[in-house]
Amino acid sequence: MDIRRFPGTRPIAWLFFAYLYVPILILIVLSFNANRTATIWTGFSLDWYRAVLSNNDILSAAENSLIVAGAATLASTLLATLGAVGMARRRFKGQSAVSAVLALPLVVPEIVTAVATLLFFILVGLKLSLVTVIIAHTVFCIPFAYLPIRARIEGLDPSLGEAAADLYANELVAFRRITLPLLWPGILSGAILAFIISLDDFVITYFVAGPGATTLPIYIFGSIRMGISPEVNAISALMLFISILFVSLSHILGRVTNR
């Protein structure tokens, strides 16, 4: 029997979506509120966006966030690509164990990772700064970047690489001319996913950020302790916008190249 025919499926689905999206909708609406008290609507205004874009603390936090996300995305995607290619290249003993370990960070509670990372930095004597944030982000972004790339590799015909070798392409050329172009969509989705995850991270960043390494989520958390301000609504709405933009981009890329 088709599950869609069960009575009450439709209202439950609506309830589910409302639960997910109404709070976000409220946040977006209130970010355009003219009133300083965030919860009372008095009219439409772009004041808070203007305030956000002229607040130096916010701008420097945004800059930090972009630097961290950019660097972590680059590093984690590179490592994830190498890892995925290596894993696909040949079967070896304990391969499934390695696969499991690679995906493990996805299920380890973030707070545990955060404490462990901090402990590690202290043990090796690394001073907390923007660099430690980048290192930590790189690490937890790897599985997110790895999964789409791995999925893409698994969909590839393994004889393509052999065909390239058969036609006189050495390993490096075969990788550049055949493997890389075919993996590209997977690499891009992996990178976009890593970027969003990094941009959004709070817990780990909070633990390993040094002075002057405030990122947007940390800034928002700090300012919210003084009450929800319309400015915070505006930043959050902007971050949401960026995330949606990237997810759509990844989706469209997947469509175009998967024809």
Partner: protein
């Protein structure tokens, strides 16, 4: 084995062992030695899992043998990387590069060999003409039919003018009609280009009609190598006789040694045939198996004279000829006789008829089982 060097491919004492998690060790190639001559259409024939693909992959260099050598025109290439061997492959899955056009696919090998672009362009056009794909240059490979993809794969592998072309069941994905057409085209291409073709198939008819020589394989071993006619007329083992065409197997007793030896066919009231059994070391009175093709098995409806007596079980009309399944006392399986129809009429033998079965001396092959 140190024969004077001859051009072509030499496979010497080849062993390939795979270690598999479930099955343990698999001997995919078990001491294979063979010589494929230059410019010949050589076919590897055998049932699934007998090691045909593995042998091809060893020649191409995708698989490193556990033991043995591969020589290409006297040059030992066993340790050479695939991209250094003057050998090209038509893959069973075609393995066309999906992000490239038809022309780019065909040009790839030429580019890798650093052929001058203008010359490469001409060569691509020439190859596409050869496989009747002119005008398809700019298509993406995903937009082609199975037969067209197959021809792109062929053009791509032929473009760099390799010494040897390896083809792994290239026709298996095509429908009957296309397959027949491609068989003729492949044969023509091989004759026109003079390239050595090593062709893998498990279709015995395909092997017989296309090849200069055939190697029949079973469980990693080569059982027999010969021209299609040699293999069909003189199979050395029961497996070969059974795998290639239809065959009747009959028990017989050696009654007089010699060249040819005399055998008594059947258990009771049999008749005698003379056949060469030089490959066997047999004594008088020993049991052997005789193989006789259905088209050389004769039925005598008169029901007397020499021969095995039997009763016709089924009659199957095939247009060009008629098949008779005849039950013979003391034999497990019925014998098959294939009799050519005259003017498309079936001979006048009905189901249930009592017949005598005979065959000429030269139709008999003595098998070592």
């Amino acid at each position: 084995m140190d024969s004077p060097p001859q051009p072509g491919i030499h496979i010497r004492d080849m062993v390939k062992v795979f270690t598999d998690d479930q099955q343990g060790e698999v001997r995919a190639l078990d001491n294979v030695s063979l010589h494929i001559r230059s410019n010949e259409f050589f076919t590897l024939l055998g049932p699934s899992g007998c090691g045909k693909t593995t042998l091809l992959r060893v020649i191409a260099g995708f698989e490193q043998p556990s033991q043995g050598r591969v020589l290409l025109d006297d040059l030992d290439v066993t340790d050479q990387a695939p991209y250094r061997r003057p050998v090209n492959t038509v893959f069973q899955s075609y393995a066309l590069f999906p992000h490239m056009t038809v022309a780019e696919n065909v040009r790839f090998g030429l580019e890798m060999q650093k052929v001058d672009p203008a010359a490469a362009e001409r060569r691509v056009a020439e190859m596409l003409e050869l496989v009747h794909l002119t005008g398809m240059e700019r298509r993406k490979t995903g937009q082609l039919s199975g037969g067209q993809q197959q021809r792109v794969a062929l053009a791509r592998a032929l473009a760099p003018a390799p010494k040897v072309l390896l083809l792994d069941e290239p026709l298996s994905a095509l429908d009957f009609k296309l397959r027949k057409g491609m068989q003729i085209e492949l044969k023509r291409l091989q004759q026109e280009t003079g390239i050595t073709f090593v062709f893998v198939t498990h279709d015995q008819e395909e092997a017989l009609t296309m090849s200069d020589r055939v190697a029949v394989m079973k469980s990693g071993k080569v059982l027999q190598i010969g021209t299609p006619e040699e293999i069909y007329r003189h199979p050395v083992e029961r497996f070969v006789a059974d795998f290639i065409g239809e065959t009747n197997f009959l028990p017989a007793t050696l009654s007089t040694e010699g060249h040819p030896a005399v055998f008594t066919v059947g258990n009771a009231g049999g008749f005698t045939v003379r056949a060469e059994a030089s490959q066997l070391d047999q004594r008088q009175g020993s049991q052997v198996t005789l193989a006789v093709r259905p088209e050389r098995t004769f039925l005598d409806p008169a029901g007397h004279g020499e021969g095995l007596s039997g009763r016709v079980e089924t009659v199957v009309y095939f247009g060009t000829d008629t098949l008779y399944h005849v039950r013979v006392d003391g034999l497990e399986a019925p014998l098959t006789a294939r009799i050519q129809n005259r003017d498309n009429h079936a001979p006048d033998i009905d189901e249930g008829a009592e017949v005598r079965i005979t065959f000429p001396d030269d139709a008999v092959q003595v098998l070592k089982d």
